[in-house]
Amino acid sequence: MTSADATLTLPASLTAAALPLPATRRAGWLRRQARGLVAIALLLVVMFPFLWLVQLAFKPGAEIFEDSLLFVPTLEGFRSLLQGNFLKSFWNSLAVSTLSTGLSLLIGVPAAYALTRWQFRGRRHVALWILVTRMAPPIAFTIPFFLAYRWLGLQDTIAGLAIVYLTFNLAIVIWLMQTFFEAVPTALEEAAYIDGCVVWQAFWRITLPLASPGLAATAVLCFIFSWNDFFYALILTRTNAITAPVAIVNFLQYEGWEWTKIAASGTLVMFPVVIFTVLVRTYLVRGLTAGGVKD
């Protein structure tokens, strides 16, 4: 509650100006523009560190310690990445994220459907258990996985890492797809049953196609979460299955301070994520806030 109270100390002018009041609506154009301008000014301030990283990636090495934004952009940083091992770690990231996303959809989507349509005793407990696995701190999983993988020979392999990512991806798929399946009316499935479809035929032909935008969004989210992971990859990979985030840290630690190259690697790694975000914004928002708000 203390944190909620802290929000009250916001300047009254800021909060009040933002209320969707009838009066504000009538006041119209000028007022809205003023708000837009404030929003854009804040946007520039907040996104400044992010933009600084991106411009650093294109800055010639000789000018890295100068402030001027007037430089001839260079692809030097990106080129030196292509020559090194970075590309391999990028492919590893791609492979691990794709594999883990595919696996979690394959296993998780039928489970989500069953949980939505089948009201059995203990259903609430099963759903809660699945949710809690997402909450658990990764270190609790890493210690047993690290020891087990050494024994199983899964250490430093793409398959091993993809399996670990199921610990959070499966929970996301099951939890999120439930909300999308709930939105599909059961009447359609019942009609299919009467036509002689069995449960999974009706699911495959009717429910899944109707929930396909949700499915796509879920896949994107799983991909992003796997792509973004650093902790598991740091501990469970060494050289062979190293992912891009770990490669960035290696640059920081072992290759001195080649800022252009480091910034270029950061820019490359975040690029897919930012593109995805802009493309599937609406569903992403739903996924990121899943369950937090009744919709």
Partner: protein
């Protein structure tokens, strides 16, 4: 559903149940193997002095509580909890304040505001390691535009992450930057459900804007703020990349949070048994907070 059951009889219903069971079983089996089994292994390991240096002690249970007893006397561990609380509470409070403020500002129908909302999402979806990199640049005097600007006006400042007094707050700021969009999103979603009528009625009655916010809008968004706070609190225990890249737990141990201390015990010193006990303590904390989230009605899917 009832009409269908009546038509098709019990055999059909049983077949349907079996079909659902087959859909659910693979997930439950996989989750059992990758979450419950490791959790049990962790619990067992936390009762042993398992470590790389003393392989013979691996399965000794003659003093099962030795690790937990040691935890209570380990000042570095106790300090890590205090650090964790400072970091979590400060960054979550900041996130809630910034997120709420921005949500109120951006709650509108214009296209411009919509586009702004999308761009504000970016910090949250960035790979945490890139966020850490961004702030490493901001806090490194050589390449940081902020440091150079301060130097230009004659106020050179020591790097915030190298100074023991400010290092934790520097991380808190970076963490806030990454996660304020979460609160912003949740509050924006809730604001759309605030009805217009009471607002109109109150403003006809002469309420000013602050009163409208305080007495009509705020009660609507308070529950979501509490849930956001708890959610972020749980997630803040996992903060790792920021600390790993920015300070490595230093200077000294001032930014060493519990998660990081566990990581060091396990993967730098190979004290697996002791690290498992630390992880168990964290798990217990997370479960308690999750339970609180459940109690506060976050879990609405099941009640419907």
């Amino acid at each position: 559903m009832s009409t269908l059951t009546a038509q098709s009889g019990l055999g059909w219903e049983a077949a349907r149940r079996r079909a659902f069971l087959w859909g659910l079983l693979p997930s439950l089996a996989v989750l059992l193997v990758i979450t419950l089994v490791p959790a049990l292994a962790l619990l067992v390991a936390s009762f042993t002095p398992l470590s790389l240096t003393d392989a013979a002690a691996t399965f000794h249970f003659n003093d099962p509580l030795v690790n937990y007893r040691h935890l209570l006397e380990d000042e570095r561990f106790l300090r890590s909890i205090a650090t964790q609380l400072k970091l979590s509470i400060s960054s979550v409070a900041l996130q809630l304040a910034v997120g709420l403020g921005l949500a109120l500002l951006l709650n509108g129908r214009s296209k411009l505001l919509g586009a702004t909302r999308t761009v504000f999402l970016i910090p949250m979806v960035l790979p945490p390691i890139v966020v850490a990199l961004i702030w490493k640049i901001m806090y490194t005097p050589d390449v940081s535009p902020l440091h150079r600007a301060l130097e230009a006006v004659g106020l050179p400042v020591r790097s915030l992450i190298a100074n023991p007094d400010t290092a934790l707050w520097a991380i808190s700021i970076a963490d806030t930057w990454q996660w304020f969009p979460f609160t912003m999103l949740m509050v924006l979603a809730t604001l759309q459900m605030v009805p217009d009528d009471p607002l109109e009625a109150a403003s006809l009655d002469g309420a000013n804007r602050w009163q409208l916010f305080r007495y009509i809008v705020f009660p609507y968004i308070r529950p979501v703020l509490v849930v956001c706070g708890l959610f972020r609190l749980i997630d803040s225990f996992k903060a790792f990349p920021l600390i790993y890249v920015l300070t490595d737990g230093g200077p000294g141990t001032v930014t060493e949070v519990t998660n990081y201390y566990g990581f060091i015990q396990a993967f730098n010193f190979s004290y697996w048994g002791y690290a498992s006990a630390i992880a168990m303590v964290m798990l217990a904390g997370v479960f308690m907070l999750s339970w609180l989230v459940g109690r506060l009605g976050w879990n609405d899917h099941d009640k419907r």
